[in-house]
């Protein structure tokens, strides 16, 4: 019975994907795809169900745990010595998207507020630096806190009216804000230079050295990403983070235990947007050129996909999601035309088979303090 349902489901998905592919690859390609998916889904399913972790797996993992972070750090630090510019470039974009995904994860994952216009906050961070730098000649470092704080304030401003609304309405307001901001950036020629964007943005300087070099810039992004993970993790495991999650889980219960629901929603918006602002300034400093084209609705959707893909509410999930969605299109460059299609199919499949995301929720283990 269950197997039959599974079979029917995989046939439906396979034919759907095949029909989508038909115009691009012709009958033969579509048929191949159909076969692969129709056979692949059940196989994947049985593998997943039948896979029993080896007995000692847990002890091996807990033995290796202390080594994870050092190994990761050394690898991350070594990358510029091993990899060429192309890889550095891709990794820098990974870092920027990780910041975005982490920020959106605070809003969507922790506090449970849907935000469909997150790219707008990314844009605000980028434009604050772009304008301050090109018009007033202010450098990267003084602009960093200004971009972050300015974007956080923008988050608050959008949230104030939006918080009177719930669920779908909040999504629509944020979506509308994203579009309005893009239109403003496109049309306010005297300030933003419209669709032509702002060029000639300066790269950061540190102790007289320009960080415009990809290697240095990579380290800058790495440092900021590590800092953001550190800070967000600590906030998540504090009174504030718990209040957000309570809010997401049950708003009425949260208010009944004394959480000021409106205030914590605002905090979530501001704190999440803060990281988008930092991502924005990094993007502007890396590209040295920004235009409204980089901050479209599709961008918002991409960031949201990263959060959902990795598992909403899970910091490491958001990081994994950002990595995957930046790297996959690069890997799939060969099949340019279809990569969005393949990504889309992948996301749909994931939502069917693992709706909680790749990593799912991670429950924190809290130990009872020992008396001393």
């Amino acid at each position: 019975m269950r197997n039959k349902r599974l079979l029917v489901r995989s046939l439906i998905i396979a034919s759907w994907a095949a029909i989508l592919f038909l115009p691009f690859k012709g009958i033969r390609g579509a048929a191949e795809l159909f076969l692969v998916i129709a056979a692949g889904i059940p196989v994947f399913h049985f593998l997943q169900r039948g896979m029993v972790l080896p007995k000692h797996f847990r002890s091996v993992v807990s033995f290796l745990r202390p080594f994870f972070i050092p190994v990761f750090l050394i690898a991350a630090l070594a990358v510029p010595f091993l990899a060429g510019d192309y890889y550095l470039d891709v990794l820098i974009m990974c870092g920027i998207y990780i910041l975005l995904a982490l920020g959106l994860n605070v809003i969507v994952g922790f506090a449970g507020l849907l935000n469909l216009g997150f790219a707008a906050f990314y844009a605000i961070g980028a434009y604050i630096y772009g304008l301050l730098n090109t018009k007033l000649g202010i450098g990267f470092w003084p602009c960093l806190p200004v971009s972050a704080a300015g974007t956080a304030c923008a988050g608050l401003l959008v949230a104030v009216p939006a918080l009177r609304l719930r669920g779908d309405y909040l999504a629509i307001v944020t979506l509308g804000f994203g579009e309005i901001l893009r239109l403003v950036l496109n049309n306010w020629d005297s300030v933003t230079n419209g669709p032509n964007g702002i060029s000639g943005i300066a790269p950061p300087q540190l102790a007289g050295i320009s960080l415009g070099n990809l290697k240095y810039f990579y380290y800058l992004v790495l440092a900021i990403v590590l800092l953001s993970v550190f800070v967000i993790r600590r906030v998540e495991r504090s009174r504030t983070g718990r209040a957000w999650i309570a809010l997401r889980e049950n708003e009425i219960a949260a208010s009944s235990i004394g959480i000021n629901v409106t205030r914590y929603k605002l905090y979530a918006f501001a704190f999440g947007s803060f990281w988008a602002g930092i991502a924005g300034i990094l993007f502007a400093a890396k590209m040295r050129f920004i235009s409204p084209e980089s901050f479209t609705f599709a961008e918002s959707v991409l960031i949201l996909s990263m959060v959902i893909l990795g598992g909403t509410g899970n910091i490491y999930g958001a990081i994994a999601g950002a990595f995957l969605l930046v790297l996959l299109p690069e890997v799939l460059r060969e099949v340019q035309l279809y990569r969005m299609l393949i990504l889309g199919i992948g996301l749909v499949l994931l939502m069917i088979f693992k709706p909680e995301g790749l990593l799912g929720k991670n429950l924190r283990k809290i130990r009872q303090p020992v008396e001393d």
Partner: protein
């Protein structure tokens, strides 16, 4: 101050339905009081009005001299009223211990920067929070489930966790909305014992119950609602013999 809570002419309408009609009563400090009444009598609506979850259309509610009927829920909790819900409202993805930790939100505070720096204030307060959480979880008998996600608990344990979470807000007045609903006889007895124990802590308790017999023994004062109207109040003995109550409430049961 003898009375911890006073409601004056509280009314609440939903469209044409009068869920509460000019309900007035006083609650003596340290007492266990029961509110009974048939389905749809307005009991839960009354709790919602008392806790800021619903706003009464008319009337006033005083809690320890404060007028609370216009306050938002979190302010009411801050003043010292906590509640449980008839249709359980836990934080399902959080573990048992986290459900109780988050409920200390108002009582143990520290700034965001302390949390980021993990400074001494943070470590000390966070340790306090965890210790207290384990105390409350132990108090309701869930110590073996501290790390279980709330959604994986049995129905009875979920109701207990709601009580632990409410206690963690350190209330003076505890409102329990049908705390034994859906429990078997043994579980019901245990929860009744737990309620008696909570009273020993010096808390005032208001209990909504469907089953009048259950609350007769434990409560010293009973308020009876029917169709949003307070039709009687008094000791168990008085209420049991009140003709209006027999008519509205016991009568129905006798017929069934």
């Amino acid at each position: 101050m003898v009375h911890i809570l006073e409601a004056r002419d509280v009314s609440k309408h939903f469209g044409g339905i009068g869920a509460l009609e000019d309900v007035s009563f006083k609650i003596r400090k340290g007492a266990i009081i029961s509110i009974i009444g048939p389905n749809g009598a307005g009991k839960t609506t009354l709790f919602n009005c008392l806790t800021g979850i619903a706003r009464p259309d008319r009337g006033a509610i005083y809690f320890m001299e404060n007028e609370i009927s216009k306050l938002p829920a979190h302010r009411v909790t801050e003043l010292g009223i906590a509640r449980t819900f008839q249709n359980i409202r836990l934080f399902p993805e959080m573990t048992v211990i986290e459900n109780v930790m988050v409920a200390q939100h108002l009582r143990v505070r520290y700034g965001l920067l302390s949390a980021i720096a993990h400074n001494r204030t943070f470590r000390k307060k966070e340790k306090d929070i965890i210790e207290k959480a384990f105390e409350y979880v132990g108090f309701v008998g869930l110590e073996n489930f501290a790390r279980t996600p709330a959604c994986n608990l049995s129905y009875g344990s979920q109701r207990r966790l709601e009580i632990a979470r409410a206690l963690a807000t350190e209330p003076g007045l505890l409102l329990l909305d049908e705390p034994t609903a859906g429990m078997n006889a043994i579980e019901t007895m245990e929860v009744m014992d737990l309620i008696a124990q909570i009273r020993e802590l010096g808390k005032t308790i208001v209990l909504i119950e469907h089953d009048m017999k259950l609350v007769m023994g434990i409560s010293e004062w009973i308020i009876v609602l029917d169709h949003g109207v307070k039709i009687a109040e008094g000791t168990a003995e008085e209420v049991r013999n009140d003709p209006l109550v027999i008519d509205a409430y016991l009568g129905k049961e006798a017929v069934q």
